[in-house]
Symmetry: C2
Subunit: 515 residues, 2 copies
């Protein structure tokens, strides 16, 4: 027996798709000599297996092939074992303790009981969603009256501190453009009162930054967006606050006597902003003190923030900044709070690496899909992967998370934290078009970074945060037309909603996959 | 490159051992051509890797070899990648996106931030613990006055309904025996008021079954046990209740009008105990209605139960019946409740199969380790595994869970739910001795089923639940002497506390492993 099979009765190998259905995934090491895999199954408490299903080949990863079966579980309790038919037609039996000589000897795998509260559900609308990320300071200046003094010209090259004057009114005025583009979900980077142009250093979690507008501006933006079938997701920056967040200022002023002292991680008896004797985002970033979300008051405060904007301004969900540096305990409470306030709200974490611990139904719906971006860049821009290698890697990622999470990923070619795709491509349009085509046709929510659809260029932060080009001569209209068409296909073609991606052919210069 | 490496930055491949240390585990498919694996690592926000560590070979599984490195993480933020030296001395680089041409091209793995609330901690005392499972109705009759009428003789062959008269007073009177045996942890199957002899059909979660005694009896038993350095863990039966549980009776009486209607899963408008139109434990077990723990009242009720016995009678933890049919949401709240009431209380789930979803620090400390029992039986009793195959399977299980859980497993050769080990062994003593030697020397908490130490026999339930043999002529004193010696070694030898088990030789008739 030289067949190497991998399966566990846990995600990502086995999980409930809904209250009475389970997906089972088996990995078979290549070179495999497997002709067929059948899953024998039945109720956990039955003495024998009552049903059998042929598993479908579902893709080829770097080392393993994937086989999938979706099993109905009317009693919510499942036991199962696998029958593997080798090339020589011999049957081999595989259970939780490994290979067995026959089915009765195979120790079964179990899905002991599909508990309703554990079933991973994501908003139904994710399957048709196409998202558009806006960096509000740079998308459109709709209200010059609130543009700070000393703002630079709109199209000036951005610096770490430059102010260009974008605001919520500007976004609201450009909803026609976004509707025409075809997107139906806006993700705004932070808009609460903060010190920087990017607003990731919040000083008031309950106020809109006056440079961007007011709560009424947000309400109006959301209402107008909703009228157009466009949802709005905000950025939740809970890992750290800004230097001028009042509790941190209080701790600076009163030292250990401050009632907010334990909201932060401070060494010693008073804050020293020179040596930065407190934890921050990244390393000694003095203007971004890390928050102690395990403190009951801080936890309650941030859960209140989460609920406040959902109910006050009818937003449609949250993107979670630095989500992987905040504990799972908090995120579970966060999900409860958010889904209670708005059951079909979307929760997207910023996690750049393997996100399985957050994607099991109790925390996020999806994450910013940077690994997919890596694969796309390696294929189309860096030339590090062949189409076959790309297909293998993407297939492995496809089976790294439950299907629900795959439907809810924010697939992206770039963001405010990366070089723009056009720049990565050395200014060439062809790789961008190919990348857009991939983005719009693989599982998950395509997310465009503002301006990428018109070929805007920009290197790493701050250059990727330029003022949105609204002048005709600066816009790649051919690219825009292609992107619009791709978005239209994505949002209307049922085959592109949910489901798996299966690569049929991957040859030099050719990649064919079915949805 | 024909090396197949497996690693993820998630359990069981990577997890925090404590607040500033992480364990990393790499699996290498055999036949591997790997000479050495080194992990390059550093703070997540540093531009380069600052440290390097050679990984230790740590065992051979069925298909994969294991390599382990424990890494200090002073800043709590880790990035890392692997350098694999092949047999030909060539270096290969492995990151989250797979193989890369050099270290700078390898996309790092991340442990983004070790959050204190997410670190898996188990009671320190588990490392010296040896447990003893008692089925109270059958261990000792210390108070004949409360023995029900119609009880059979103590040594009669048990039937599904026979009453033998065991009670809490009996256990208390036999503490000398248990202390002399050397165990330091008692696990009692259920003792709350219930209808059956096994008491898994609770009718009052706040009362001791009168056949077993009173709360004062339990308090006395626990206090006397504590005086001897013995802890006491009770059985929590929350998945279902007994038929005569008052809320269920109320639902029978008042149908949909009952305020307890939604405590259960009932089809239709009234309960039909003939057709059993309600969910039960297993299949249509009418006397064990399944509880709806997702209902806020039921949830609160059972959390109160959990807290009550910890504070009222000073018990030392809970063993959780049918733990895998109750949702994770409940178990997380349960852990919070229990550890708040008694931080070093132990939580052991009854899960017979792969338990990783419950063993990540937020739910159980350990589980009843039935897979280990399967391996031991297959090796020593069923003759299905060679020592080499046994070693491979046990090694795979060893790396299936975080180290903390491994320390807290209830390792067992049998329980009230299985045939006794002596009976499995066809009455022979040699396999029992070998099994006991394994039980006492592998990682995890050895758990003896009452009477196994004196060679009691008994087939499947109810035969495995015979009255404890207290007559000299029925006791295998040679076996008892050996078990006592093994327990003494286990509880005093530091090498057997925590740590890994590494098999050095596995040949026909020989298994050598180091701890
Ligand atoms: Ca403005
Ligand atoms: Ca009695």
């Amino acid at each position: 027996m030289d067949i190497c099979l991998q399966h566990e009765s846990n995600p990502p190998f086995a999980y409930a798709l809904e209250q009475k259905a389970v997906r089972l995934i088996v990995k078979v090491l290549r070179p495999g000599s497997v002709r067929q895999i059948r899953v024998h199954y039945g109720d956990k408490y039955e003495t024998s297996y009552t049903d059998v299903l042929i598993m479908q080949w579902a893709g080829r990863g770097v080392h393993f092939d994937y086989f999938v079966a979706d099993v109905r579980v009317p009693t919510r309790r499942l036991k199962y074992a696998f029958e593997v038919t080798a090339e020589d037609e011999a049957s081999h039996w595989f259970g939780e303790m490994g290979w067995a000589r026959d089915l009765s000897e195979a120790v079964p795998f179990y899905i002991p009981y599909i508990c309703p509260r554990d079933v991973f559900t994501v908003p139904e609308w994710v399957d048709q969603a196409v998202a558009y990320q806006i960096f509000p300071e740079r998308f459109a200046n709709g209200n010059p009256c609130i543009t700070p003094e000393g703002a630079c010209d709109w199209y000036d090259s951005p610096t770490p501190t430059s102010i260009h004057g974008g605001d919520l009114a500007g976004i609201r005025q450009r909803l026609d453009y976004l509707q025409d583009l075809g997107i139906n979900l806006i993700y705004l980077t932070p808009i609460f009162r903060a010190g920087s142009n990017h607003k990731y250093d919040t000083t008031d979690y309950f106020e809109i930054d006056p440079q961007f507008g007011t709560k009424d501006d947000l309400r109006g933006l959301v209402a107008d967006a909703h009228d157009r079938g466009i949802r709005v997701v905000l950025d939740a920056v809970f890992n750290h606050c800004g230097y001028f967040f009042r509790p941190f200022q209080d701790a600076i002023r009163h030292g250990r006597q401050s009632r907010y002292w334990h909201w932060f991680f401070i060494e010693g008896d008073e804050i020293d902003t020179e040596t930065v004797n407190y934890e921050t985002f990244a390393t000694k970033l003095r203007y971004m003190p890390k928050l102690n979300l395990a403190h009951p008051e801080v936890e309650r405060y941030m859960l209140t923030v989460a609920e406040y904007w959902l109910s006050e301004c009818d937003i449609d969900g949250w993107r979670l900044d630095v989500a992987n540096e905040i504990d799972h305990v908090f995120w579970r409470k966060f999900r409860e709070t958010v889904k209670r306030a708005k059951p079909d709200a979307l929760i997207i974490g910023e996690v750049w690496h393997n996100s399985l611990p957050w994607l099991q139904g109790d925390q996020f719906d999806g994450v910013m899909n940077y690994p997919l971006r890596e694969c796309i860049l390696d294929l189309l821009v860096r030339g590090r992967l062949s189409t076959a290698e790309f297909a293998e890697r993407v297939t492995d990622w496809q089976f790294a998370y439950p299907a629900q999470a795959q439907r809810s990923m924010f697939n992206l070619l770039g963001s405010h934290d990366t070089e723009r795709i056009r720049t990565m491509a050395g200014g060439m349009v062809a790789p961008v078009v190919q990348a857009m085509a991939l983005l719009m046709t693989v599982p998950g929510i395509p997310m465009l970074y503002y301006g990428d659809e018109i070929g805007m260029e920009g290197g790493a932060d701050p250059l990727c945060r330029g003022g949105m080009m609204w002048e005709d001569e600066g816009r790649d209209k051919d690219l825009l037309a292609i992107v619009k068409r791709l978005i239209a296909i994505r949002t209307t073609e049922p085959a592109l909603a949910g489901g798996l991606m299966m690569v049929e052919r991957a040859e030099p210069g050719l990649l064919r996959y079915v949805r």
